[in-house]
Amino acid sequence: MIKINLKLFVTLSRYLPDNSEGLEILEGTTVEKLISDIGIPKELVKLIFINGKKQNMSYQLKNNDRLGLFPSVGGG
């Protein structure tokens, strides 16, 4: 098992698990799998940031990764 720090923004925050700052997951879990496990509809996730850099759904999470998920923001 590995631990990651998960941040969910705007409307995604309702899916945030209790232990999000030290979330235990299987090593090699992809972002796509994690999103599915947490129950976030995939189409709501627009931006995936790992350790401050944009990544995609197939990224395999590593120990101590900081994962941030952002929905589509387009208002003016």
Partner: protein, 235 residues
Amino acid sequence: MKIPKFKERYDRNFNTLSLEEQKKLGTSKVVVLGLGGLGGSVCEMLARVGIGHLTLIDGDVFEPSNLNRQLLCRENMIGFPKARAAKDRVNAINSEVIVKDFIEYVDESNLYEHIKDADVVMDCLDSIDTRFLLQKAAQKASIPIVSGAIAGVAGQVTTIFPKDKGYELIYGKKGRNQSKGIETKTGNMAYCALFVAALQSSECLKVLLDRGDILRNKLLIAELWTNTFDIMDLV
């Protein structure tokens, strides 16, 4: 009515700005697209800071739901064109700014003509599809875009130069029918709109003066419930 002299008007800009920088702003041309929560505040800040030429474009008129966040909207202005209100406001603040206002929506047919002579375009639009059209026109005209977007108490800012991938890095490939984002569910709060508008105005000055750190290929994201402020690498 006495019009303040140059050095009096901009006295408190010195020496954050040099005299040469202030004069350069006075010859700069900026187009503001969208005059709602972001654009209405952006044009106020750009007028005060001393941008010499402002082109203000929005086809919309004020409605009661704008009162919660749009600085230009007052109770007696419901039904009044946003572009005209913005021009009046800029004229009242800084009569030395040369202002053009256009009460029209932008699309493929008019974007290039409106922006082609600008030094910077401020993207304060509320349509993701139109943002992609803007990028196409700005690439053709070789003009940088300073883009802001808000939803609820979250916001994002980036600066896109003509050769950059730009919006594709934020919203994915164009043509996936995504005219609106999550703001249709969250609305927009006044303080978040003003916060993002301030960041955009700052970014505009940095681009014009070639100074400071510019959010090129980076996305500044902010979420005010959690005091999250991060700059993410988009490439």
